[in-house]
Symmetry: C2
Subunit: 456 residues, 2 copies
């Protein structure tokens, strides 16, 4: 994560104050900055292995602030900081954190350290932490926090207001309240806004919405994020198998999911597997593995193009000038096809395109791709004439239309076919589509050439 | 927008009730559904040109609900509905909407209709609407709403609480309050949570945070969204040139921006221009225009590959078997290069990668791409031996390493170079990168072939 330009003067001032061990200047600087900003500066220091100054910086912060800053660090740097802390301090920091950040920090620690810390926690705290840490990454369970405001059924508005006031310092959000029955099951929800304008003597049961939008602990995180986006929610409650309320996923975490899922989709579009961290931070061996699989598979895919060329070796030998136009034709088809595939895959990911739209979209693609092919054929035809005469130019122009049309339709249909087969439509990546079109393009081009030039 | 599976039974029930003109059944069905869901059903009806049933459905909804549902429709369908309404009803619907949705609906109307409606509005309302409609699309101004809670400086906590209660039904969010000075300038902010636990006699000035994270009316929407994501905000206040508070952008709108910006980036990665609507809805002429520009430009880019081939025509004629491996080699280089470019472009868009990281990333890419090239060379070498003998196999293997390495480094560096030149790094799209690598790959491959085979 590069340091934002606007933070640079602050960073310089902070560092020089740290260097001079000038606590007064540090104390003057630090309140100016938000935790996310201090964390960015600290992250930079730690990435440059400047652990000493990083620790000195943290030491200047009050405990609550320190916990918040550590919560913003990446996992690797969290571990560095945690390892430099004694159990007492680390326990105090964990205590200060929200339940979701506490769980994340806990999960980066080694087995031994975790056991040591758990032994020193109160039973309830320990069970809670173990439970939250047990959910699979990428699910609502792993994303949620247990710091929410729960109101028992039957409570009056005025008592619920008191409960909100008491919980205010600790809850992740106090603006959406969850009503639970004696078994702990989610019975309804209401907003603080509703509560504030309600008659103090009314019971929450009379006011709450009973049909609550909720997720299960194993709901994939992208679905949770979609619920937040679709219904403009502040938070989504999460229930276990018995419908007991076990946590909430807040809008800010949902927003991070939208961003990271988009990154994953963009990478998938280039046949890159899911990276566990940013590209500048992920281990090289992992980056290699996530890139190599499809690259090698597609080497073999590309052999079909080679085989096509071998099949038409006589045509090529008779008219070597044809090879001049080969990269151009298969490249153009690949580009148009990758465009079509990308439009479909993203449309399906955002919910803009559904499987049942296939027919309508096919018709549209036919028209657009036909026009694109025609335009590109007109662009390439004069070059064909100049370079190799009218006969070859005609072959090239006709091939261009055919390849662009075929490529676009292939790119458009592939995501639907994959989806139908139960695969991720995003497997229709640009590299896969272009490889398929390369092979088909060779056949189309040299097929037309053999046909049209030998006939002429 | 395809209809969510879970909505299908509701839709069927709704439609049959509509068909039967069974108001009682409709009234029983409708409260079960949320506005976003009813809007999806209505959107479907209107896309199928079933305006009659669409209007009948809307007519069953109370005015407030109707306004909310219309707010969820796409622009095109909003226009269809608005055109079918008289001025009285349309004015009533506009009245019920939040300021941001009202502005959006107003903007889809024709000039004459707008004038007619404005004439019938109260002066303040009219000025407000004209002002909100005047901001450029894609800026904080166009995204913001004017329905926020403003508290004058000097007000006590208890009076501010009263103000919140009064504003609760209308404000977009009551959970973040904005303190303004007598000139209307943003003086500070505080959360409702803070207000609730504060001493009733305290003044908001004592409690508020003065250093407010804010945007200007012309701040690009993606920067506003980034502020919301970075600082986990419920809303970002927006100020005009004189620092006067003019609106807020709420978290739900920021989340929509993150999603639409990701879509734009994904399309850009395939050299597709910014679409004004979803791929299944955008006009065909527009879809053609947004795709054709780069496709035609790259036709000419691909001529360099052709020229390279022409230059080496003698080598090719002497050993036609070489052409077998051409698509494979330039395809592999293009895939690896497009991966590298995509990783950089997305990293730069999310802030994970900065220009100053260039050196470190170059070193990393050198190692990863070297390993990738080596792996792919080992995969292709046996095929080379079988197909064309050891001498050609060696040329192919060496070329593979060189092309993958060169392609990856080119793909990695191009976004940085473009950024340096003041261009959008995302211009380094997969089609551009693969076209550049195609041309270089031809030179590398046949260069090696000429050198190594004539020497042998």
């Amino acid at each position: 994560m590069p340091l934002d330009e606007s933070l640079m003067p602050h960073k310089t001032a902070l560092l020089s104050a740290l260097e001079a061990n000038d606590r007064a200047r540090l104390d003057a600087q630090l309140p100016e900055l938000r935790s996310a900003d201090i964390a960015e500066i600290l992250q930079e220091l730690l990435e440059d292995d400047d652990v000493l100054r990083g620790r000195a910086l943290l030491a200047c912060l009050p405990l609550e602030r320190r916990a918040s800053v550590i919560g913003h660090l990446h996992a690797e740097e969290q571990l560095v900081i945690a390892e430099a802390m004694g159990d007492d301090v680390l326990l105090a920091v964990l205590e200060e954190m929200g339940a979701d950040e506490r769980t994340d920090l806990f999960k980066v620690l080694g087995e031994d350290r975790r056991e040591a810390l758990l032994r020193r926690m109160a039973r309830q705290e320990r069970e809670e932490l173990k439970r939250l840490a047990s959910y699979e990454e990428g699910t609502a369970g792993a994303l949620m926090t247990s710091d929410y405001v729960a109101i028992p059924t039957g409570m009056t508005v005025s008592r619920a207001m008191m409960r909100v006031r008491q919980t205010a310092p600790d809850a992740e959000t106090v603006y959406q309240l969850y009503v639970i029955d004696p078994e702990g099951c989610l019975a309804g929800t209401m907003s603080l806004r509703q509560l504030m304008v309600a008659r103090p003597g009314a019971r929450v049961d009379e006011l709450m919405i009973r049909d609550v939008i909720h997720a299960a602990v194993d709901t994939p995180q992208e679905e949770v994020a979609r619920l937040v986006a679709r219904y403009d929610l502040l938070a989504v409650p999460v229930v276990d198998e018995t419908r007991r309320l076990v946590g909430i996923v807040t809008h800010d975490d949902a927003m991070d999911v939208v961003e990271s899922e988009a990154t994953e989709d963009i990478h998938k579009g280039m046949s890159i597997g899911q990276l566990e961290d940013g590209v500048s931070r992920v281990p090289l061996a992992s980056l290699y593995r996530k890139r190599v699989t499809w690259l090698v598979l597609l080497v073999f895919g590309n052999l079909f193009s080679g085989a096509g060329i071998a099949y038409f070796e006589d045509t090529i030998a008779a008219q070597v000038a044809l090879v001049f136009f080969l990269p151009l034709l298969i490249g153009s088809g690949g580009n148009a096809g990758a465009q079509a595939a990308t439009l479909m895959v993203r449309g399906m990911a955002t919910g803009d395109v559904g499987v049942k739209d296939w027919g309508k979209l096919l018709g549209r693609e036919l028209l657009v791709a036909g026009s694109l092919g025609l335009t590109m054929a007109l662009a390439v035809a004069p070059i064909g004439v100049i370079r190799a005469g009218e006969a070859v130019a005609l072959v090239v122009a006709v091939s261009m239309i055919a390849i662009v049309l075929f490529g676009s339709l292939l790119g458009m249909c592939l995501p639907f076919v994959l989806d139908r087969l139960g695969w991720d439509p995003a497997t229709a990546s640009a590299p896969l589509v272009t490889t398929l079109i390369d092979a088909s393009g060779v056949l189309i081009y040299f097929g037309f050439a053999t046909l049209m030039l030998s006939a002429g």
